[in-house]
C-alpha cells in the first residue's frame, strides 16, 4: 500500500482542520487567511468549511492580533495565529516575549497560554530584506516559548498538532520554500513530539546538524559526498527550544566531527548554541576537528536573485565545507 502524499502546505491545512474537528476551542486568526486563503494558500478553503467565527481575517496590526490571541488563550481558547511573514512578528514582540512567554511563570502556574503561532520564514522567494529573514533563534532565546522548525510535510502536520496540544506558547517556523514540497503524510491525526531531533541520514565521518530547508540541502550534499567515500550523518534538529542535545552528543561521539548548517545569520545563532553545547558536553573529548558553522551572511537578505542565493548556504557550499572538514583541511 502506498502512503498518500501531500504538500507541506496541505499537511498544515489538514492538521488545522483535524484540530478544529477535535476541539471547538481551536480557532485560526491572521491576515488574509479567510476568503483569500492565506498569502501562501495554507488555510485555503478552511473559511468555507469552518466559518468566519473560527477562521478569522485580522486587521493589519500584528501587535493587536497577538494581544487578542494571548487574551483568548488565557480565557481557555486555543488560538492558532498566522503571521503573514515571520518578519512581522517583530511588531508583536511585546505580546510574544513579555506576555505570552511570561504569564504562566509570573502568575505562579495558575494560568496557561496555549497559543500557537505559525510563521512563514526564510529566503529564496525574492521577497527582499524585510520578508526573508530567519529570526527563529531570537525567539528561541526566550524561556517560556517553544520554537520548532519542521522540515517535511509529515513533521509539519505532526508538530503542528503537538503544538496545538501544548499548554504553552509554541512558535512554528515554516520555511516558505518548503510549502510546495511533497511527502508522505499519514491521514490520521498524529503527533510528532516537540524537542526530539531526527536522524535523517546515518553516517560515520561527520555530524551535520541542520534546520528547515538546510536539512534538504545537507542531504543533497551528503549524496554527493557519499560518492567520494565521505559519509555524513544529517540530523534534522526540528526543535530549537527545547534542543535535543543528547541526539547530537551521541552522533558526535560516533563521527568525531560537527558541522551546523542553518539559514539564520551565522553569528550568535543556532550554530553557536549547538557548538557550545557540544564543547560543554562529554562529546568534547571525541572531537577530532574544529567545529564548523555554515550560516547566513552578516547582511540583510538582498533582493538581487544571485546575491540572495549567495547570502545563505547552498548545496555546493555545504559539500565544500564538509569535504574540507572531513579531509582535515581546516
Amino acid at each position: 500500500m502506498t502512503v498518500r502524499e501531500l504538500t507541506y502546505a496541505q499537511a498544515i491545512q489538514e492538521a488545522l482542520a483535524q484540530a478544529m474537528d477535535a476541539d471547538p476551542d481551536v480557532f485560526l486568526m491572521g491576515e488574509d487567511i479567510g476568503v483569500y486563503g492565506g498569502a501562501f494558500q495554507v488555510t485555503g478553503d478552511l473559511v468555507q468549511r469552518y466559518g468566519e467565527e473560527r477562521v478569522m481575517d485580522a486587521p493589519i496590526s500584528e501587535l493587536g492580533q497577538a494581544g487578542v490571541a494571548v487574551g483568548a488563550a488565557l480565557a481557555g481558547c486555543k488560538p492558532v495565529l498566522e503571521f503573514q511573514f515571520s518578519d512581522f512578528a517583530t511588531l508583536a514582540m511585546e505580546q510574544i516575549v513579555n506576555q505570552a512567554a511570561k504569564l504562566r511563570f509570573m502568575l505562579g502556574g495558575k494560568v496557561n497560554v496555549p497559543l500557537v503561532m505559525r510563521l512563514p520564514a526564510g529566503s529564496g522567494t525574492g521577497a527582499a530584506a524585510q520578508h526573508s529573514q530567519s529570526l527563529e533563534a531570537w525567539f528561541a532565546h526566550v524561556p517560556g516559548l517553544k520554537v520548532v522548525q519542521p522540515s517535511t510535510p509529515a513533521d509539519a502536520k505532526g508538530m503542528l498538532l503537538a503544538a496545538i496540544d501544548d499548554p504553552d506558547p509554541v512558535m512554528v517556523f515554516e520555511h516558505k520554500l518548503l510549502y510546495k514540497m511533497k511527502g508522505e503524510v499519514p491521514e490520521h491525526p498524529y503527533r510528532v513530539p516537540i524537542g526530539k531531533a531526527h536522524v535523517a541520514r546515518e553516517g560515520r565521518h561527520v555530524t551535520v546538524v541542520a534546520t528547515a530547508i538546510m536539512v534538504h540541502r545537507a542531504l543533497e550534499a551528503a549524496d554527493t559526498l557519499a560518492t567520494e567515500g565521505i559519509e555524513a550523518e544529517v540530523i534534522d534538529l526540528r526543535s530549537l527550544r527545547p534542543i535535543d542535545t543528547d541526539t547530537i552528543v551521541r552522533s558526535v561521539q560516533k563521527t568525531t566531527r560537527l558541522a551546523c548548517v542553518y539559514e539564520g545569520v551565522k553569528s550568535l545563532g543556532i550554530g553557536a548554541e549547538i557548538s557550545a553545547r557540544i564543547a560543554e558536553s562529554e562529546a568534547f573529548d571525541y572531537l577530532d576537528a574544529p567545529i564548523m558553522r555554515l550560516g547566513g551572511a552578516e547582511a540583510p537578505i538582498p533582493y538581487n536573485p544571485t546575491l540572495e542565493k549567495a547570502a545563505v548556504p547552498q548545496v555546493p557550499d555545504i559539500v565544500t565545507g564538509l569535504r574540507n572538514l572531513v579531509s582535515g583541511r581546516i
Partner: protein, 351 residues
Amino acid sequence: MAVEVILPRVDMDMTSGIISKWHARAGDRVVRGSALFEIETGKASMEIDSPADGILDNILVVEGGSAPVGVAVAYILEEGETTVQISSNSIRTSEPVPETERLEHPTVTPLIPTSIETSASQAPRATPLARRLAREARLELKTISGTGPHGRITAEDVRGANMHPPHSQILLSLSMICRMDSLIDITERLNAIALRTPGDQTILKITPEAVAIKALALASQRLDHPLLTRASIRHGFGHILPNVSERSLSEITGLLETPDASGSGTAVIAVWPLFQQGIEQAAIPFTPPDIASLTMGAIVETFAPVNREPVLVKQMICTLLCDSRLIRPDKATQFLQSFRRLLEDPVLMLA
C-alpha cells in the same frame, strides 16, 4: 594580519606533498583565487590557489622541497606589513634546502610575522579526541607528529604512534601452576544445587571461567598498587566486564555468555580463560591502554606428588604478561600468588 599559505590535503591518503613550482616569488603581489603554487603527491599534481590578496613572503619550502600536509609553506602579508626573525624550530619543513637554493634565496632562516607566533604555541596542537587517546595510551603529545593543519595532532596520528610506540614495552611474563580441584568441585556443587532448584533465580548455573574471573578481579582489587587496585577486566579482545568483583558468579557467567552491558575503565587487564581449548600455556599480547593480560591454559588431569605419593589432580598453568614499567616484577609476583590462592581455595573469596 599575515595569512598562512597552507599545504592542503588534496586526497584522503595524502600526508605530505612536494612543491613542484611556485607561480610567484617572494615580494610579488598575489591575488586571492589565482594559482600560487603546484604540488605533487604520489598520485597527481595540482595547482593551489592563493588564499588571500597581498604580498607573498617568506617562502619556506622551495621548488622540489616537500612538506607535511597542513603546515605553512609561505605567508601573504598585507600592504605595509613587515616580518621579523624568529627561531627556526617552530617551522617544520622536512627537507633541507639544497646549497644551490640557498644562494638564490639568501633568507634561509625562516621569517614569520609577529602576529602569527605567540609563546603559547610551544604546546603541541592537538584535537580533543587526540588528547584523550594519547592520555589513555599514556603517550606524550610532544612525541607525536601531527599531520593536520598547522601540525595539529589528530586521532589518526595518535593511533599511528600507538602502533609504533617510541619506546617499546618492557614485557614481563610470569607463569604459575594452579591446582583447580576445589574450583571445579565448587562449580559442580553449585550447579548441582541449581539443577535441583530450577525455580530459584538466585542460584543459577555457573562456569569455572566465571569463578576464575571473579578471583582475578578480587586479587587485583586487594593489591596495594595504583593501577591494579582499580583495574577493570576485559574478556579477551571483547568487552570490559562491568564491576566483576561485586557480581555473583551466575551474573558473571551471564555476562560472559551474553554481554548486556559493557563497562569502561582505564587500567584494563585482558583475561583469556582457555580451559577447553587444549592450549596448555600461552602469553597472549595486549595493546595499550590495556596494562596486562592473563592467560589461563587448559585444565588437565595429571599425577602430582602428595606426601610422596602420586595423586591424580586437576591443574592449569596461568601466565601474566605485563609491562614491567607499570607493574614491577615484585608486584606482579604478588598479584599472581594472590590470584593462585583464590583459585586454589575459592572459599577465600568470601573473606
